[in-house]
């Protein structure tokens, strides 16, 4: 902590000095803006010759972030000032660095963020821009207008969804609702992406984005021209984005030929950015490959050495993109290739002695992200259309860092080390467990949740009710087959173990003694020396997609039990998808001494699965399969032999 403080002090005074000497006098002053008809008075302002800077602790700035649904993470001494927006988008400003990131895109600010005292100050104009806000002057007043930042059309053929995104949650009103024309109005939102777009997907023929209104009361209209018989859903809000679904067959043939011009050589950028730190050693571009990914494509530029790059794209309907890699040599000569949709062609050139250019032509205004990777540069081309996207960006590959501090710092662990076994083994028991049940005829059943914990609740159906019902059915079957059964709870209530005082709980960092509910369930099985432990659950998700039955285990001795259970439930033909056996550190299976599994029987949130969970005959069916699994496993793994 001391060194952190020293660090702040050093950097802080360095920047204060810089601000005073180079950037003119730094003096505090207020700046006021009108935002959503309210006045925001920024008081943590430092003026520099390159523009105004805003302190991250400014109360008006914090309330602005709150109204945007954004959160800011920064503490004194930290380098990165991180803002997360609901989109989701992470905006990253770094103290001492002009370069900042908005999502996957990098840009250069007018000056680097700096520290003044204990507070980080950010370049105000760039900060507002990164948040999707534009400052407009209305006489003597500055107005912050939230911008409509993108309108995407997702889908193909007869289905389409229009998604509009702005810096603020969008609340449209439907101003015109005619069979051939819909007009949505977004009050209070400005747009810099006005235009008309030929669509011809999902019954949409044209999409028009028109901004109007005054500086103080901007307004943006999205007009959708529909083909005959086109259908549309009601607009809905998805994390503040505006979404409407459309259906219908195409539209008129395209008015604008979206195909690429015959000579796809992009014009030189009007402002050719000089390469920063041209690396002496230079880089080699050894290969450019295209692979399909998520409906889009990934262009991988394989490189060795250090280089800087900048990229540019033209405005639709000209859907060309190019990236210039400075200080690089092309191996293997120029190349022209036709490519499948969404990429239509790929050109690779040694553009001049020091620059390799990779130019892409796209079938539409597709979303593109560019990022450096361990072996070069990755260009991800999405399969959705993006209306307003960054038109240029830049970055570095290799170790183009300031030449004088080759400090060691972060070594990424290779991404393929999935499942690596850590040295600090967390096993309670090794694979050759010596667990011997003191009560080999006892099975402990754990109905998931109960009491104050309802588990997943969806449309009136409660996990806690279902799991207790299924566990009771298994209990009856097992008893009929000669087993002893202990339920962790046989009524709809919490499971409290050894009472612990509030003080003891807090000393251990817990909020309350109730926090020991799951350990109490394991305590019951462990104290009784049970043969096996089975926890029964029902799954859920925020949408209806995921479905199926999943088997979880944690200790190695539990794996054969989970596999046996999977086989028996598969054989019972329950109708649900088999989502497999997975190792996860779920509390109840991690702390049971005996072979222990947790079965997620089906998803409450999936209509197909839900119908099954709602049926008492299906619950009886799965209960029989679980009892069979216990019988089969016990028969194949007699007590006293290796589990």
């Amino acid at each position: 902590m001391n060194s952190t403080r020293r660090f702040i002090g050093r950097i802080g005074s360095a920047f204060a000095l810089c601000t005073l000497l180079l950037c003119g006098s730094a003096r505090a002053a207020n700046l006021s803006y009108v935002f959503q008809n309210q006045t925001l008075m920024f008081t943590h302002i430092a003026r520099t010759a390159a523009g105004s800077a805003l302190g991250v602790d400014d109360p008006a700035f914090r309330s602005l972030l709150k109204s945007l649904g954004a959160t800011l993470t920064w503490h004194p001494g930290e380098r990165y000032v991180l803002i997360s927006t609901p989109q989701p988008l992470v905006i990253n400003f770094a103290v001492g660095s002009k370069s900042y990131d908005v999502g996957l895109l990098s840009a250069n600010a007018s000056f680097a963020p700096f520290l003044q005292g204990q507070e980080a100050f950010l370049p105000l104009d760039d900060l507002l821009h990164s948040l999707g806000l534009t400052s407009r002057s209305d006489g003597s007043v500055n107005v912050l207008q939230p911008q409509l930042t993108s309108v995407d059309i997702k889908g193909s053929g007869n289905q389409a969804v229009v998604v509009a995104h702005a810096a603020m949650p969008l609340h449209p009103r439907l101003a015109v609702n005619e069979p051939s024309r819909l007009v949505y109005v977004f009050d209070g939102v400005a747009s810099s992406i006005d235009g008309i777009r030929q669509v011809n997907v999902g019954g949409i023929r044209l999409l028009k984005i028109i901004s109007s209104g005054s500086v103080r009361r901007p307004s943006t209209t999205i007009e959708v021209d529909l083909a005959p018989n086109a259908r549309h859903g009601a607009p809905r809000s998805n994390d503040g984005d505006f979404e409407v679904a459309f259906g219908g067959s195409g539209g008129a043939p395209p008015l604008v030929n979206a195909n690429v011009a015959a000579n796809p050589q992009p014009p030189s950028p009007s402002v050719a950015p000089a390469p920063v730190n041209p690396p002496a050693a230079g880089a080699t571009v050894s290969a450019v490959t295209v692979t399909p990914s998520n409906g889009g494509e990934t262009v991988t530029i394989a490189m060795s050495g250090n280089a800087t790059y900048d990229w540019h794209r033209l405005r639709p309907p000209d859907n060309r993109f190019w990236i210039d890699i400075h200080g690089a040599q092309l191996e293997g000569g120029n190349k022209d290739e036709a490519q499948p949709d969404p990429l239509t062609s790929l050109r690779i050139r040694q553009n001049d002695a020091q620059t390799v250019r990779v130019a892409l032509s796209l079938s539409g205004p597709k979303s593109i992200s560019v990022s450096p990777s361990a072996n070069g540069i990755l260009i991800n081309i999405g399969n959705t259309d993006a209306f307003d996207v960054a038109r240029e960006g830049s970055g570095t590959v290799g170790n183009v860092v300031s030449a004088n501090e080759p400090q060691p710092l972060i070594t990424p662990v290779p991404a393929d080390e999935y499942g690596q076994v850590s040295n600090e083994s967390a096993w309670k028991f090794g694979p050759q467990s010596s667990y011997v049940p003191t009560n080999p005829r006892l099975i402990v059943l754990d109905p998931g949740h109960g009491g104050g914990d309802r588990g997943s609740v969806h449309d009136g159906m409660q996990e806690a009710v279902l799991t207790l019902d299924m566990a009771r059915r298994v209990e009856a079957l097992l008893i009929a087959r000669g087993w002893q059964v202990k339920m962790t709870h046989n009524g709809d209530h919490d499971v409290h173990g050894t009472p612990r005082s509030k003080a003891e709980a807090e000393a251990m960092g817990y909020t309350s003694p109730d926090a020991f509910d799951l350990q109490a369930r394991d305590d019951i099985a462990n104290a009784a020396g049970a043969r096996l432990f089975v926890s029964i659950h029902a799954n859920a998700f925020m949408n209806s997609g995921p479905n199926g039955t999943t088997y979880y285990y944690y200790t190695p001795q539990s794996l054969p039990f989970a596999q046996e259970m999977e086989q028996d439930l598969d054989a019972a033909d329950l109708g649900t998808k088999d989502d497999g056996v997975h190792k996860v550190k779920y509390y109840v299976v991690a702390h049971a001494n005996m072979p222990a599994i947790l079965i997620e029987t089906a998803f409450l949130t999936n209509p197909f699965d839900r119908e099954r969970l709602a049926s008492s005959s299906w619950r009886q069916h799965i209960a029989e399969a679980i009892a069979d699994g216990i019988d089969q496993y016990a028969r194949a793994h007699p007590v006293g032999q290796a589990q």
């Binding site: 770094a94 183009v400 060691p408 990424p412 997620e600």
Partner: protein, 172 residues
């Protein structure tokens, strides 16, 4: 004559050995990017995306740089991949309050919004798998302790995944 040739040979050998050491010496890697993991909608497999890092500043110690990178990694992981990517995501509003790195363990303190999970182990498992893989991709971090508003919890309220001890990649 013979002695001077031997000497020359010796000098050449020393120079060659020195050069070989220089080129082959183990060099620490300064990474300018970070791999962020997320769990796909099958509930199990992982996807990644990459974000760039700023080069360390003069005067920024290794520990400070590690802290900055770990905090950035946690914020990116909680925010999740771009919206067009299908991923298991943390509940809206979940944000990182702080990250502390102590030895090989990173403690990630989350806002209580994380408790508003959609229920079911599916989301919970996917959320934390991505976060733990992201942070343990940063050397020397190999374990992640989760706290909520500064407090340890057994699991999320109504949850399944054990959170009261640090999580490792080997827990999956």
């Amino acid at each position: 004559m013979k002695a001077s040739r031997l000497l020359l040979l010796l000098v050449v050998l020393v120079v060659v050995a020195g050069a070989a050491w220089w080129f082959l010496r183990p060099r620490p890697v300064v990474s300018d990017h970070l791999t962020v993991y997320y769990t796909k909608l099958d509930g199990n497999s992982l996807g990644t995306w990459t974000v760039s890092l700023r080069p360390p500043q003069p005067g920024e110690s290794a520990a400070e740089h590690l802290h900055n990178v770990a905090l950035y990694a946690a914020v990116q992981s909680i925010a999740g991949p771009p919206s067009e990517v299908s991923a298991i995501r943390f509940p809206p509003g979940t944000h990182v309050l702080n990250v502390l790195v102590n030895g090989s363990t990173a403690t990630v303190d989350l806002s209580k919004d994380v408790a508003a999970s959609a229920g079911g182990s599916f989301a919970e498992n996917g959320e934390f798998k991505g976060l733990v893989y992201t942070l343990t991709g940063i050397s020397p971090i190999n374990a992640v302790q989760i706290t909520i508003e500064g407090r340890k919890v057994e699991t999320l309220p109504g949850g399944h995944l054990e959170l009261d001890t640090p999580l490792h990649r080997s827990d999956w």
